[in-house]
Symmetry: D2
Subunit: 307 residues, 4 copies
């Protein structure tokens, strides 16, 4: 029972940088201690030139205002492989059309919103009308793509057609970062594909993407993953490593989900060690706090090291 | 401001039935009140002969011991359409091979588990060896299926080959209940498909299933949904209704996720009204409590009405 | 690594009793497994004739409709010592005056409620007017009590004056069960005492109650505790045992709070072992689910054994 | 339905200050948006010279490393009235004796810890031996205090005897900031008082403190409150305002607790409006995230304004 690291209390200084604040968390416990550890792991991971960097993005992070962080990480080469949800990509495309999400409130009459043709995502408002422009854009893109392609290829085609350097899909296209989206049909992109397929051929195979992703796992000298919010992206990244002799060397998870319900989203990263997804000696930490707060902090605090 | 429904306090009687207990919750508030309302809605929904009954199953419900509840609901015709995760189906198939999950503990050394070739799902233990038998079974099934099919067709083929009436997939096959699984590649079924495709042709289109699901939404005179645990199943069900002029008339959500993080899993059902997924006059309720407790209670309490 | 207890899947039967349902949870994991274990421990604890039974009651359980469960447990001699919050006692007294709490909704304009003189406790509504009758009652009781007494004595005096056998305080008075309420000033009882003390002498010592409570800990051959909702009651019970050579032999905790924030309310019962509050060989379990659901289930399921 | 505030996406810059980061959150939603609003309210509150500033401190914030933040706020006159738990004061006194808390881990065998005489608070370790020195200190202080005093007076006497300017109690003593602690008996301070009272007279009245606290509420031109972690401090502060014609003008709550269980800790600040504790036009916000992360951020971001 070692008692070697006394708790050191945070002291707030004027004009403190994010990096300094998080460094002062290194002597703290609970969430502050975990956040400090996450930054430490993230700094090591992104400066490890032999590390393939995976990024899992779930939750409505784009509507919340986290889009540019992700696209900047891609352009800064801090993301080699992105796995995300259809929803985040839909909202990324909407913004790339110059259409906005709006700050609203969760204390609202949703039936009134419906009458006003405004959709709600917690405290974000989105005019239904945006989806008409989205439809027009996507149908025009669909017309120009091959009849048969994989999900990542489909997303790459879409990215190529977006005229917005802040877009996640456009940045991924520019930087040749593959974007995986296993449940793409579970999104308005999927609904547009359903519409398109009523009259035109389109064949996107469910399993085609797996080979490339698993190959990247095989080839990685070392591998690290930042998991924002659990869900399909978390499991898809971790399971791809499972079939290789390797495992993740760095893993960070930002979530409010809890382990006790047994779902994968809230599962600890230690649980992933029992499967061999995360390595025995891997550095890993979960920060149980709102990811719209912790992700920006980690990226800001790690930026010092990076550049 | 109506003050017409006084809180009536629960009185516990000896040998009380589940149904009686939940009925006594009808005068209560907080979780007890919500659970009572969920039962009331569920009773109405499953006895509404013109209602198409959707069921979204996320979270590790099969490993936890909830498999038979779902397969019985299918055989009792209380589920018309099932949308679930690959993981639940993997664990369903494993059990159908006569292989067990085991009660373990979450207070365990996961590296030790790894050395013993035991995988952990919170407090459930699963021998890695089971996946070898799973692989053998799945590869033998893949050999006999068409080169080109949809996800629901693939799952139907698997269900047909399972020799276990308690299996969810087998029950769905027997009862002609379609099983949707948008992110099927995000599971060990996906990994087996990746393996199979290294030497054999297999083409499963991502979007092919959407037409049938959306058609069922169009055709439904009334529609109800039981959502266990959020995730892709929740959104895939709700968005399919979105493109129709209809909306859900009944909706129940069992989850521990919370609204404040903005993710879809924790989103309130009122939020879904703003999108038109849930109707303005629909009856809906979310029960914020462990679904391995609340799902059995609701099904037990509703069974009285049903039969 | 023992793999000896296969998961057994719940099968719902018609007219199932609560006891049967929970017994069927014994082969399950996650919350269902924990609930089954809680019932098992609670059955052993309340039938252990040499066990002193503590009960910690926090959260707004009385407004929610859980009042009679607690008073019945007292009258059934399943609670020897009650530790609770001032709020629960305030709402118990209000109900004993024939005044009701009302089912409301959390989706409401609180400013409108304020204008209508209705107070809200999540989805419970309470007319402000009730507090006038409460004031009248309490001031009349204060007039007849000694100038100097302990908190438990004060609560006993109040209990004696309530004309309602369903009241927690009245039941405790009748059954000579001491009621501890460390933060009694943090309640409308406290506000009434402040009012009374503006003109009359009243001296209630903060620490006087501790001796009797700690004596009960010393004297207990065995000790068990049911902790509903954490807070001051949880810690006050556990710390009283801390100063004795003994520790709790049975401990059950029903809460939605989580360990990761480091607060005592969400702390695991294992953590309490490190302090010696809960014994090394004690049986203990935490059920992470809404206590307005789990408490009635446990009491109903244990009633079979008890009588 | 106004759609006037487009979501503006966070852009991370190198060497960004905490203040700049939080300002960039002002265009965001979910937790980031709430945190930005909290900083905005806090800046207005602490620079409002006519505002009486209350601070509620629950949860194990001192063991986690948040002690100096609180003592600095007191010395900077950003806290006029402190309401906290006995536990935070106990750990403050321990640190003031030069005794440390230590970073540990929550993945540990608590029985082993017990054998090593180490107490655990989530991932903080504390040698039992520290409590012996704590006892010696407290008993020596008790000997010198009046037989009869209030809780705040008792705490003031303790603060006066601590030789550590970083101590919360010492800082409060120096700055004449009253420290309220309604459930003081629910702490090791309480256990020491019980010990002392076995041989010496000590009378600390439960209700004596209320007058001064309520007087401060009456006198306040404007009033603001920062609530960390709920519990007794939250309610004690809010209820004291309840008996006055006034209400809080500013209110910030940092918590992971959730509203749905109906407990006061997780209750929204809007609910407090229905009671008249928080004013109709008051600015208030709850940040649902780990307070060991959000409190330092808010204080750091507000410091720019303050000085």
């Amino acid at each position: 029972m070692e008692l070697q690291r006394p708790i050191r209390h945070v002291k707030i200084a004027k004009d403190m940088s994010v990096s300094q604040l998080v460094d002062s968390f290194s002597g703290c416990a609970f969430g502050a201690g975990r956040l400090s550890e996450a930054v430490d792991i993230y700094r090591e991971m992104i400066t490890d030139s032999e590390c393939t960097k995976f990024f899992g993005l779930a939750g409505a992070m784009v509507p919340a205002g986290m889009r540019q962080i992700v696209s900047d990480l891609i352009r800064d080469k801090d993301i080699d492989i992105l796995v995300t949800t259809g929803a985040n990509l839909v909202h990324d495309i909407i913004e790339s059309l110059g259409l906005h999400h709006y700050k609203g409130t969760d204390a609202v009459d949703d039936i009134q919103l419906k009458h006003n043709a405004v959709n709600r995502i917690y405290d974000v408002f989105l005019p239904e009308q945006h989806f008409s422009e989205f439809e027009e854009k996507l149908q025009s893109i669909f017309k120009e793509i091959p009849d048969k392609l994989s999900i990542t290829q489909l997303l790459s085609h879409i990215g190529a057609k977006l005229d917005d350097d802040d877009s996640i899909l456009k940045s991924a296209y520019d930087m040749q970062v593959p974007v995986y989206c296993p449940a793409i049909q579970d999104s308005v992109i999927g609904l547009q594909a359903w519409l398109y397929k009523q009259t035109k051929p389109l064949n996107v195979d469910v399993f085609d993407d797996m080979r490339n992703l698993i190959d990247r796992c095989y080839e990685a000298k070392r591998a690290g993953v930042m998991i924002v919010g659990g869900g399909v992206p978390k499991n898809f990244i971790l399971q791809s490593m499972l079939v290789t002799p390797r495992s993740f060397d760095y893993a960070i998870q930002l979530t409010m989900d809890r382990p006790e319900t047994g779902g994968l989203s809230g599962a600890t990263l230690d649980e992933a060690r029992s499967w061999g997804k995360v390595g025995e000696n891997a550095r890993c930490v979960t920060v149980y706090s709102d990811a719209t707060i912790t992700l920006p902090i980690i990226v800001a605090a790690a930026k010092v090291t990076r550049e």
